[in-house]
Protein backbone atom coordinates (compact mmCIF):
# COMPACT_ATOMS: atom_id res chain seq x y z
CA UNK A 1 0.00 0.00 0.00
CA UNK A 2 1.38 3.35 -0.99
CA UNK A 3 2.58 5.66 1.76
CA UNK A 4 -0.01 8.21 0.75
CA UNK A 5 -2.79 5.72 1.37
CA UNK A 6 -1.45 5.05 4.85
CA UNK A 7 -1.33 8.74 5.57
CA UNK A 8 -4.92 9.17 4.42
CA UNK A 9 -6.05 6.40 6.73
CA UNK A 10 -4.36 8.01 9.67
CA UNK A 11 -5.70 11.45 8.94
CA UNK A 12 -9.11 9.91 8.69
CA UNK A 13 -8.82 8.08 11.97
CA UNK A 14 -7.20 10.87 13.89
CA UNK A 15 -9.05 13.86 12.59
CA UNK A 16 -11.66 13.67 9.88
CA UNK A 17 -13.54 10.71 11.23
CA UNK A 18 -12.20 10.76 14.74
CA UNK A 19 -14.34 8.30 16.61
CA UNK A 20 -14.84 10.51 19.63
CA UNK A 21 -15.43 14.00 18.47
CA UNK A 22 -16.72 13.38 14.98
CA UNK A 23 -18.62 10.15 15.32
CA UNK A 24 -19.34 10.50 19.02
CA UNK A 25 -18.50 6.93 19.85
CA UNK A 26 -16.83 5.31 22.82
CA UNK A 27 -17.97 8.04 25.14
CA UNK A 28 -18.64 5.91 28.21
CA UNK A 29 -15.04 5.07 28.90
CA UNK A 30 -13.92 8.47 27.65
CA UNK A 31 -15.67 9.97 30.61
CA UNK A 32 -15.01 7.32 33.20
CA UNK A 33 -11.26 6.83 33.22
CA UNK A 34 -10.07 10.26 32.19
CA UNK A 35 -9.58 11.68 35.65
CA UNK A 36 -6.04 10.33 35.71
CA UNK A 37 -3.61 10.33 32.80
CA UNK A 38 -2.00 7.04 33.80
CA UNK A 39 -5.26 5.11 33.67
CA UNK A 40 -6.25 6.84 30.46
CA UNK A 41 -3.02 5.80 28.79
CA UNK A 42 -3.51 2.16 29.64
CA UNK A 43 -7.13 2.30 28.55
CA UNK A 44 -6.13 3.90 25.28
CA UNK A 45 -3.45 1.31 24.61
CA UNK A 46 -5.87 -1.49 25.46
CA UNK A 47 -8.40 -0.11 23.02
CA UNK A 48 -5.85 0.28 20.26
CA UNK A 49 -4.79 -3.31 20.85
CA UNK A 50 -8.33 -4.66 20.72
CA UNK A 51 -9.44 -2.53 17.78
CA UNK A 52 -6.50 -3.34 15.52
CA UNK A 53 -6.50 -7.05 16.30
CA UNK A 54 -10.26 -7.33 15.97
CA UNK A 55 -10.08 -5.55 12.65
CA UNK A 56 -7.37 -7.91 11.49
CA UNK A 57 -9.29 -11.00 12.56
CA UNK A 58 -12.55 -9.82 11.04
CA UNK A 59 -10.71 -9.01 7.85
CA UNK A 60 -9.05 -12.43 7.71
CA UNK A 61 -12.39 -14.11 8.14
CA UNK A 62 -14.34 -11.73 5.99
CA UNK A 63 -14.80 -14.01 3.04
CA UNK A 64 -15.82 -16.99 5.06
CA UNK A 65 -18.20 -15.39 7.51
CA UNK A 66 -21.86 -15.66 6.57
CA UNK A 67 -23.37 -12.21 6.44
CA UNK A 68 -26.30 -13.02 8.71
CA UNK A 69 -24.21 -13.86 11.72
CA UNK A 70 -21.42 -11.38 11.24
CA UNK A 71 -22.48 -9.28 14.24
CA UNK A 72 -22.29 -12.28 16.54
CA UNK A 73 -18.93 -13.22 15.11
CA UNK A 74 -17.61 -9.72 15.61
CA UNK A 75 -18.85 -9.68 19.17
CA UNK A 76 -17.17 -12.99 19.86
CA UNK A 77 -13.89 -11.79 18.42
CA UNK A 78 -13.96 -8.49 20.26
CA UNK A 79 -14.95 -10.08 23.55
CA UNK A 80 -12.14 -12.60 23.27
CA UNK A 81 -9.51 -9.95 22.75
CA UNK A 82 -10.89 -7.90 25.61
CA UNK A 83 -10.70 -10.89 27.90
CA UNK A 84 -7.11 -11.42 26.86
CA UNK A 85 -6.29 -7.79 27.63
CA UNK A 86 -8.02 -8.12 30.99
CA UNK A 87 -6.04 -11.24 31.87
CA UNK A 88 -2.76 -9.65 30.82
CA UNK A 89 -3.48 -6.52 32.83
CA UNK A 90 -4.35 -8.56 35.91
CA UNK A 91 -1.15 -10.52 35.52
CA UNK A 92 1.32 -7.76 34.73
CA UNK A 93 -0.24 -4.49 35.86
CA UNK A 94 -2.50 -5.50 38.74
CA UNK A 95 -2.75 -2.04 40.30
CA UNK A 96 -3.85 -0.41 37.09
CA UNK A 97 -6.20 -3.29 36.38
CA UNK A 98 -7.90 -2.55 39.67
CA UNK A 99 -8.08 1.15 38.98
CA UNK A 100 -9.70 0.57 35.59
CA UNK A 101 -12.13 -1.85 37.16
CA UNK A 102 -15.04 -2.87 35.00
CA UNK A 103 -14.20 -0.37 32.30
CA UNK A 104 -11.81 -2.78 30.66
CA UNK A 105 -14.67 -5.20 30.19
CA UNK A 106 -16.75 -2.39 28.82
CA UNK A 107 -14.37 -2.06 25.90
CA UNK A 108 -16.51 -4.80 24.39
CA UNK A 109 -19.46 -2.49 24.11
CA UNK A 110 -17.30 0.36 22.94
CA UNK A 111 -19.06 1.25 19.74
CA UNK A 112 -15.83 2.23 18.05
CA UNK A 113 -14.59 -1.31 17.65
CA UNK A 114 -17.80 -2.75 16.32
CA UNK A 115 -18.12 0.33 14.17
CA UNK A 116 -14.74 -0.18 12.52
CA UNK A 117 -15.35 -3.88 12.01
CA UNK A 118 -18.62 -3.15 10.29
CA UNK A 119 -17.54 -0.12 8.32
CA UNK A 120 -14.11 -1.18 7.23
CA UNK A 121 -12.65 -4.50 8.24
CA UNK A 122 -15.30 -6.72 6.79
CA UNK A 123 -14.78 -5.40 3.31
CA UNK A 124 -11.09 -4.64 3.25
CA UNK A 125 -7.85 -6.58 3.20
CA UNK A 126 -5.84 -7.30 6.31
CA UNK A 127 -3.11 -4.68 6.34
CA UNK A 128 -5.36 -1.65 5.68
CA UNK A 129 -7.79 -3.01 8.26
CA UNK A 130 -5.02 -3.19 10.79
CA UNK A 131 -4.00 0.39 10.04
CA UNK A 132 -7.59 1.57 10.17
CA UNK A 133 -8.01 -0.01 13.59
CA UNK A 134 -4.74 1.50 14.71
CA UNK A 135 -5.70 4.95 13.45
CA UNK A 136 -9.15 4.94 15.03
CA UNK A 137 -7.75 3.64 18.29
CA UNK A 138 -5.08 6.31 18.21
CA UNK A 139 -7.66 9.00 17.49
CA UNK A 140 -9.64 7.82 20.47
CA UNK A 141 -6.60 7.64 22.74
CA UNK A 142 -5.40 11.12 21.84
CA UNK A 143 -8.75 12.73 22.58
CA UNK A 144 -8.95 10.90 25.88
CA UNK A 145 -5.44 11.94 26.82
CA UNK A 146 -6.33 15.55 26.09
CA UNK A 147 -9.40 15.41 28.29
CA UNK A 148 -7.46 13.59 31.00
CA UNK A 149 -4.63 16.09 30.87
CA UNK A 150 -6.95 18.94 31.76
CA UNK A 151 -8.95 16.99 34.28
CA UNK A 152 -5.92 15.76 36.17
CA UNK A 153 -4.15 19.10 35.97
CA UNK A 154 -7.05 21.15 37.21
CA UNK A 155 -8.44 18.57 39.56
CA UNK A 156 -5.26 17.23 41.16
CA UNK A 157 -2.62 19.67 40.05
CA UNK A 158 -0.58 16.84 38.64
CA UNK A 159 0.36 15.26 35.34
CA UNK A 160 0.90 11.49 35.35
CA UNK A 161 0.89 11.65 39.14
CA UNK A 162 3.74 14.12 39.19
CA UNK A 163 2.62 17.26 40.98
CA UNK A 164 3.00 20.14 38.60
CA UNK A 165 1.00 22.98 40.01
CA UNK A 166 2.11 24.68 43.22
CA UNK A 167 0.61 23.45 46.46
CA UNK A 168 -1.24 26.73 46.93
CA UNK A 169 -3.37 25.99 43.89
CA UNK A 170 -6.91 25.21 44.97
CA UNK A 171 -7.86 22.03 43.22
CA UNK A 172 -10.93 22.09 41.08
CA UNK A 173 -12.16 18.83 42.51
CA UNK A 174 -15.24 19.04 40.34
CA UNK A 175 -13.02 18.28 37.36
CA UNK A 176 -12.29 14.79 38.59
CA UNK A 177 -15.89 14.11 39.44
CA UNK A 178 -18.52 13.13 36.86
CA UNK A 179 -19.75 16.64 36.00
CA UNK A 180 -16.21 17.67 35.19
CA UNK A 181 -15.93 14.80 32.74
CA UNK A 182 -19.05 15.86 30.90
CA UNK A 183 -18.02 19.49 30.78
CA UNK A 184 -14.49 18.75 29.63
CA UNK A 185 -15.53 16.43 26.83
CA UNK A 186 -18.24 18.84 25.72
CA UNK A 187 -15.70 21.64 25.59
CA UNK A 188 -13.21 19.55 23.64
CA UNK A 189 -15.86 18.66 21.08
CA UNK A 190 -16.94 22.28 20.88
CA UNK A 191 -13.37 23.41 20.38
CA UNK A 192 -12.58 20.88 17.71
CA UNK A 193 -15.77 21.46 15.81
CA UNK A 194 -15.29 25.19 15.74
CA UNK A 195 -11.83 24.65 14.32
CA UNK A 196 -12.66 22.81 11.17
CA UNK A 197 -15.67 22.45 8.98
CA UNK A 198 -17.20 19.06 9.56
CA UNK A 199 -16.35 17.01 6.50
CA UNK A 200 -19.42 15.43 4.87
CA UNK A 201 -22.02 15.61 7.63
CA UNK A 202 -22.46 12.25 9.31
CA UNK A 203 -25.88 11.48 10.77
CA UNK A 204 -25.82 12.33 14.48
CA UNK A 205 -28.11 9.48 15.38
CA UNK A 206 -25.38 6.89 15.33
CA UNK A 207 -25.27 4.25 17.99
Amino acid sequence: MAGKGVRKLFIKGLWEENPVFRQILGICSALAVTNLLENTLIMGLSLIFVTSLSNVTVSILRQVTPSRIRMMVQTLIIASYVIIVDILLKAYLPDISEALGPYVGLIITNCIIMGRCEAFARSNPVWPSFLDGLASGLGYALVLLTVAFFRELLGFGSVFNIPVLPAEWTRWTIMVMPPGAFFMLGIVIWFVRSLGPKPAPKADARG
Binding site: P66, M72, I87, A91, V176
Partner: protein
Amino acid sequence: MIGKRAFSVMYMLLLTLGFTSAVTLVYGVNEERIERNSRLKLQKIVLDVLNVPVPFPSQPSNIIEIFEDRVRIYILNGESIYMALSEDRRDIQGYAFRMSGAGVWGPIHGMMGVSHDLDRVLGVAFLDHSETPGLGGRISEEGFRNQFKGQPLPPERIKDTTYFRVQPPQATVRSPNEIDAVTGATGTSNAVERMVNGALNRYLPFLAELRLEQEELTP
Protein backbone atom coordinates in the same frame (compact mmCIF):
# COMPACT_ATOMS: atom_id res chain seq x y z
CA MET B 1 -24.17 -29.44 -0.08
CA ILE B 2 -24.42 -27.95 3.38
CA GLY B 3 -27.33 -25.60 3.78
CA LYS B 4 -26.59 -21.97 4.63
CA ARG B 5 -28.12 -22.29 8.05
CA ALA B 6 -26.19 -25.38 8.95
CA PHE B 7 -22.99 -23.77 7.78
CA SER B 8 -23.66 -20.69 9.89
CA VAL B 9 -24.24 -22.77 12.98
CA MET B 10 -21.16 -24.90 12.42
CA TYR B 11 -19.06 -21.86 11.66
CA MET B 12 -20.20 -20.15 14.83
CA LEU B 13 -19.53 -23.23 16.92
CA LEU B 14 -16.10 -23.70 15.44
CA LEU B 15 -15.19 -20.09 15.94
CA THR B 16 -16.45 -20.12 19.50
CA LEU B 17 -14.40 -23.21 20.19
CA GLY B 18 -11.35 -21.63 18.65
CA PHE B 19 -11.57 -18.38 20.54
CA THR B 20 -12.46 -19.86 23.89
CA SER B 21 -9.49 -22.17 23.52
CA ALA B 22 -7.25 -19.21 22.82
CA VAL B 23 -8.60 -17.38 25.84
CA THR B 24 -8.24 -20.46 28.01
CA LEU B 25 -4.67 -20.79 26.87
CA VAL B 26 -3.81 -17.22 27.75
CA TYR B 27 -5.52 -17.66 31.09
CA GLY B 28 -3.77 -20.93 31.81
CA VAL B 29 -0.37 -19.42 31.13
CA ASN B 30 -1.05 -16.47 33.39
CA GLU B 31 -3.23 -18.02 36.06
CA GLU B 32 -0.42 -18.76 38.43
CA ARG B 33 0.98 -15.31 38.05
CA ILE B 34 -2.35 -13.70 38.82
CA GLU B 35 -2.75 -15.78 41.94
CA ARG B 36 0.77 -15.03 42.98
CA ASN B 37 0.07 -11.34 42.56
CA SER B 38 -2.87 -11.40 44.90
CA ARG B 39 -1.06 -13.55 47.45
CA LEU B 40 1.91 -11.22 47.32
CA LYS B 41 -0.34 -8.24 47.74
CA LEU B 42 -1.84 -9.72 50.87
CA GLN B 43 1.53 -10.61 52.31
CA LYS B 44 2.89 -7.15 51.61
CA ILE B 45 -0.03 -5.53 53.32
CA VAL B 46 0.10 -7.80 56.33
CA LEU B 47 3.79 -7.01 56.79
CA ASP B 48 3.02 -3.32 56.41
CA VAL B 49 0.29 -3.14 59.03
CA LEU B 50 2.35 -5.25 61.41
CA ASN B 51 5.30 -2.88 61.00
CA VAL B 52 7.64 -5.66 59.94
CA PRO B 53 10.43 -3.91 58.07
CA VAL B 54 10.84 -4.77 54.43
CA PRO B 55 13.79 -3.71 52.26
CA PHE B 56 13.07 -1.04 49.71
CA PRO B 57 12.86 -1.64 46.83
CA SER B 58 11.68 -5.16 47.54
CA GLN B 59 11.57 -8.22 45.37
CA PRO B 60 8.74 -10.73 45.58
CA SER B 61 11.19 -13.26 46.98
CA ASN B 62 12.06 -10.88 49.83
CA ILE B 63 8.41 -10.48 50.75
CA ILE B 64 7.72 -14.20 50.73
CA GLU B 65 10.83 -14.93 52.75
CA ILE B 66 10.14 -12.33 55.40
CA PHE B 67 6.49 -13.31 55.59
CA GLU B 68 7.27 -16.95 56.17
CA ASP B 69 9.90 -16.03 58.66
CA ARG B 70 8.07 -13.52 60.81
CA VAL B 71 4.36 -14.13 60.44
CA ARG B 72 2.19 -16.88 61.85
CA ILE B 73 -1.43 -17.43 61.03
CA TYR B 74 -4.17 -18.31 63.47
CA ILE B 75 -7.45 -19.46 62.03
CA LEU B 76 -10.67 -18.59 63.77
CA ASN B 77 -14.02 -19.52 62.26
CA GLY B 78 -12.48 -19.67 58.82
CA GLU B 79 -10.86 -16.28 59.13
CA SER B 80 -7.16 -15.67 59.50
CA ILE B 81 -5.53 -13.63 62.21
CA TYR B 82 -1.92 -12.81 61.39
CA MET B 83 0.62 -12.62 64.19
CA ALA B 84 3.99 -10.98 63.80
CA LEU B 85 6.91 -12.46 65.68
CA SER B 86 9.42 -10.09 67.17
CA GLU B 87 12.93 -9.95 65.80
CA ASP B 88 14.20 -12.61 68.14
CA ARG B 89 11.22 -14.77 67.23
CA ARG B 90 10.33 -15.27 70.87
CA ASP B 91 7.46 -12.90 71.36
CA ILE B 92 4.49 -11.76 69.44
CA GLN B 93 4.86 -8.23 68.25
CA GLY B 94 1.37 -7.59 66.93
CA TYR B 95 -1.84 -8.89 65.45
CA ALA B 96 -3.40 -8.16 62.07
CA PHE B 97 -6.94 -8.83 60.95
CA ARG B 98 -9.24 -8.06 58.10
CA MET B 99 -11.58 -5.15 57.98
CA SER B 100 -14.33 -4.65 55.45
CA GLY B 101 -17.12 -2.26 54.84
CA ALA B 102 -19.42 -0.82 52.25
CA GLY B 103 -17.76 2.01 50.38
CA VAL B 104 -19.42 4.45 48.05
CA TRP B 105 -18.94 2.31 44.96
CA GLY B 106 -18.48 -1.15 46.34
CA PRO B 107 -17.00 -3.11 49.22
CA ILE B 108 -13.73 -1.93 50.68
CA HIS B 109 -11.42 -4.64 51.99
CA GLY B 110 -8.45 -3.86 54.14
CA MET B 111 -6.29 -4.98 57.02
CA MET B 112 -5.46 -3.51 60.36
CA GLY B 113 -2.58 -4.19 62.70
CA VAL B 114 -2.55 -3.65 66.45
CA SER B 115 0.24 -3.98 68.96
CA HIS B 116 0.68 -7.06 71.11
CA ASP B 117 -0.53 -5.18 74.18
CA LEU B 118 -3.58 -4.05 72.24
CA ASP B 119 -2.84 -0.51 73.30
CA ARG B 120 -2.19 1.06 69.94
CA VAL B 121 -2.71 0.71 66.22
CA LEU B 122 0.29 -0.38 64.19
CA GLY B 123 -1.19 0.48 60.83
CA VAL B 124 -4.00 0.13 58.33
CA ALA B 125 -3.90 -0.76 54.65
CA PHE B 126 -6.40 -1.46 51.91
CA LEU B 127 -6.51 -4.61 49.81
CA ASP B 128 -9.06 -3.45 47.32
CA HIS B 129 -11.83 -1.01 46.79
CA SER B 130 -13.79 0.49 43.93
CA GLU B 131 -13.64 4.09 45.05
CA THR B 132 -13.02 6.94 42.65
CA PRO B 133 -9.37 7.08 41.65
CA GLY B 134 -7.82 10.23 42.98
CA LEU B 135 -10.70 10.96 45.32
CA GLY B 136 -11.97 8.13 47.52
CA GLY B 137 -9.13 6.08 46.12
CA ARG B 138 -6.69 8.22 48.05
CA ILE B 139 -7.41 6.28 51.21
CA SER B 140 -4.75 3.89 49.94
CA GLU B 141 -2.14 6.62 50.05
CA GLU B 142 0.42 6.68 52.84
CA GLY B 143 -0.57 10.14 53.92
CA PHE B 144 -4.04 9.03 54.86
CA ARG B 145 -3.11 5.65 56.27
CA ASN B 146 -0.26 6.91 58.42
CA GLN B 147 -2.73 8.88 60.49
CA PHE B 148 -3.74 5.63 62.14
CA LYS B 149 -0.19 4.57 62.96
CA GLY B 150 0.59 4.72 66.64
CA GLN B 151 -2.86 5.91 67.66
CA PRO B 152 -3.78 4.77 71.15
CA LEU B 153 -6.50 2.26 71.92
CA PRO B 154 -8.34 2.28 75.27
CA PRO B 155 -7.89 -0.77 77.52
CA GLU B 156 -11.60 -1.16 78.22
CA ARG B 157 -13.70 -3.27 75.92
CA ILE B 158 -17.08 -1.64 75.61
CA LYS B 159 -19.49 -2.69 72.92
CA ASP B 160 -19.74 -0.39 69.89
CA THR B 161 -16.98 1.97 70.93
CA THR B 162 -16.13 4.70 68.50
CA TYR B 163 -12.39 4.24 68.43
CA PHE B 164 -11.78 6.65 65.62
CA ARG B 165 -13.59 9.59 64.10
CA VAL B 166 -12.95 10.71 60.56
CA GLN B 167 -13.49 14.43 60.26
CA PRO B 168 -13.13 17.01 57.52
CA PRO B 169 -9.56 18.26 57.55
CA GLN B 170 -8.98 21.27 59.76
CA ALA B 171 -6.13 23.64 60.27
CA THR B 172 -6.04 23.14 64.03
CA VAL B 173 -4.20 20.32 65.74
CA ARG B 174 -6.19 17.23 66.27
CA SER B 175 -6.95 15.30 69.38
CA PRO B 176 -5.84 11.69 69.22
CA ASN B 177 -8.09 9.29 67.38
CA GLU B 178 -9.42 12.00 65.11
CA ILE B 179 -8.50 11.34 61.50
CA ASP B 180 -8.54 13.82 58.64
CA ALA B 181 -10.88 12.73 55.90
CA VAL B 182 -9.90 12.83 52.25
CA THR B 183 -10.99 16.16 50.81
CA GLY B 184 -13.89 15.73 48.42
CA ALA B 185 -14.43 12.11 49.41
CA THR B 186 -16.82 12.29 52.32
CA GLY B 187 -18.62 9.07 51.51
CA THR B 188 -15.48 6.99 51.28
CA SER B 189 -13.99 8.61 54.38
CA ASN B 190 -17.10 7.83 56.40
CA ALA B 191 -16.98 4.28 55.13
CA VAL B 192 -13.43 3.95 56.44
CA GLU B 193 -14.55 5.21 59.84
CA ARG B 194 -17.26 2.57 59.99
CA MET B 195 -14.90 -0.14 58.81
CA VAL B 196 -12.17 0.65 61.29
CA ASN B 197 -14.49 0.89 64.27
CA GLY B 198 -16.37 -2.20 63.21
CA ALA B 199 -13.23 -4.27 62.92
CA LEU B 200 -11.83 -3.09 66.24
CA ASN B 201 -15.08 -3.79 68.04
CA ARG B 202 -15.12 -7.19 66.51
CA TYR B 203 -11.57 -8.37 67.05
CA LEU B 204 -10.22 -6.64 70.15
CA PRO B 205 -12.20 -8.69 72.68
CA PHE B 206 -11.20 -11.85 70.91
CA LEU B 207 -7.55 -10.86 70.69
CA ALA B 208 -7.51 -10.08 74.41
CA GLU B 209 -8.59 -13.62 75.13
CA LEU B 210 -6.16 -15.07 72.63
CA ARG B 211 -3.35 -13.17 74.26
CA LEU B 212 -4.28 -14.54 77.68
CA GLU B 213 -4.26 -18.06 76.30
CA GLN B 214 -0.87 -17.60 74.73
CA GLU B 215 0.59 -16.16 77.90
CA GLU B 216 -0.65 -19.15 79.83
CA LEU B 217 1.07 -21.48 77.40
CA THR B 218 4.47 -19.80 77.39
CA PRO B 219 5.99 -19.33 80.86
